[in-house]
Amino acid sequence: MAKGDLETVGADAPAGGYVQLLTPDGDRVERVTGPDGTEYSVDFTDAEYRTLYRDLVTVRRLDAEATALQRQGELGIWASLLGQEAAQVGAGRAMRPQDMAFPTYREHGVLYTRGIDPIMPFGLFRGVNQGGWDPQEYKFNQYTIVIGAQTLHATGYAMGITMDGKTGSADGEAVIAFFGDGATSQGDVNEAFVWSGVYHAPIVFFCQNNQYAISEPLERQTRIPLYRRSSGFGFPGVRVDGNDVLATFAVTRAALDNARQGQGPTLIEAYTYRMGAHTSSDDPTRYRIASEVESWKVKDPISRLKAFLEKQQVGDAAFFAEVDEQAKAEAIALRERVLELQDPDPVTMFDHVYPHGSPEVDAQREAFQRYQATFEGSAH
């Protein structure tokens, strides 16, 4: 196993390097020293390696099922994570049980690795609700569609952890905020950086740089690598190979542990690629060339871990086949449950506007019901 620093690892790395612990060919790099001297490595058992592999395959398979469901008209829209599995599984698995996540709309892989039922966000994508889960129960905030808004929510939550005295030890709490490369341009995100810096908040900003914000390539958002943004706000930034689940795990785990210990925020740029369309409504052939997509295929997060498991004899053909079978079974079960998600009774749209109701909304609900009743028996 090779040792490296940011300048020597990752023949495929962007200028400035990144933390990589597993090459695209499936070779382990033993440890990497980050820009601030932090040493990154992982020390997984064979079983843990296999779990990571199973996670990656499963979240990709579930994602493919969702894409198919959307094409069949069963979902209104789908935001695919294809290509970003390692970034999401690595980050999700790096979280400790007490940690809180603030996702965008694409973090289905993080959700899965948190042990949350993968059906949870499908009400939103099917259009039968707008989320409808309790962030506190799952330690996983609702999906947020307005770009960047959740980074401030995450910051406030992290400030609350400090105010509650829950940092400064190994079992302290930390927050991870997810966002994209495009989001880094939003005022909200920059304000979140300011606040987190000023309040020394226990937060990790996890930016999945998938190279595009819908059609716009990274150059439309920045002149410097995104991880370097943090220095202007007074906290460290590190870039990791987001297609390497081991490196992503190591970097995120270290940053979260620093945060829970009371050492403040970190910005992680997970360098990856959106292999599919932005969402099912998008046509990426209009703005990017096939050869670019091809060049990222060889960096696939799953095949490199598979190659590693094979070389290490940690996984054999029977194991890989069994994982595929299990992922398929989970996907089929998911499909069946998505199809069972019923349209809500329209009158429920008047519910939950306020915690204790409102006489005006109540009156409109009643008028709506009276009006609906006038159609009873007709084909309306």
Binding site: G76, I77, G127, V146, A213, Q221, D343, P346, M349, F368
Partner: protein, 323 residues
Amino acid sequence: MAEMMTLGKALNAGLRKALEDDPKVVIMGEDVGKLGGVFRITDGLQKDFGEDRVMDTPLAESGIVGTAVGLAIRGYRPVCEIQFDGFVFPAYNQIVTQVAKMHYRSLGRLRLPIVIRIPYGGGIGAVEHHSESPEAYFSHTPGLKVVTCSNPSDAYTMIQQAIRSDDPVVFFEPKRRYWEKGEVEFSDFPLHASRVVREGTDATVLAYGPMVKVATDAASAAAEDGRSLEVIDLRTLSPLDLGPVYASVRKTGRCVVVHEAPGNLGLGAEIAARVTEECFYSLEAPVLRVAGYDIPYPAARVEEEYLPDLDRVLDAVDRAFGW
């Protein structure tokens, strides 16, 4: 010669014309360049006019509008695209505190000929923030002009007029009508002019943007029942052009206002107040409103029940007759 095209294509043609006519016109927004916008309204414009005039901006609405102000001070005529109604709010501060007030603040010395295009309204089965009707927030703000088109020909004309206007104009586009076709011809009506789209004698139905089609469909249905509805497309939301409305209501004695936005403090409330003041002795019934309910825009699978439709318009007309 009139040409058949969709409303989206008509906007594209209008923008193209504006870019040709005035070298100071620039288009800026998220994905408006290479992609041509998520609705393709700016399709092909960057290719033909270059990256300086059709700019793919960073993902920051406050930045889009804030820099448009600077460009306008510098003599440009920026046309900003906000990708969806629900994403205008990061720019709300710039629009309300700066765009709307600079002419006043400068004692009329500075004009901000900025157009802010916003696809708005529901009915496309979208997720949260993609179906809203925020026009009242802007109409409530002195210093802004607010317009909305309902058909391809108006879209083609009004976008060019909005760009030529020396006022900041918030230009609402009825996204669910983008794909509807009609004859397109430039007709130089004033930008701030409502229009009688269907004459009638028994009741006046006011609508704008996506609801104009609902209103005219309701009028067709009512005609089968022997009731004659006059339909007016407001087109301009600030300032309102209610002269034709008063004339109509004095004739019909009944008035129904239709919009998708929540009823509470919506455009309908202002219109009802003014019509009541102006036409009090002609009114056979109070001005009635058919609007979105006072709830956040609901999940897509129930939006059909939320949105005003033909039946709800006819129900309101019935109530006006039953008063």
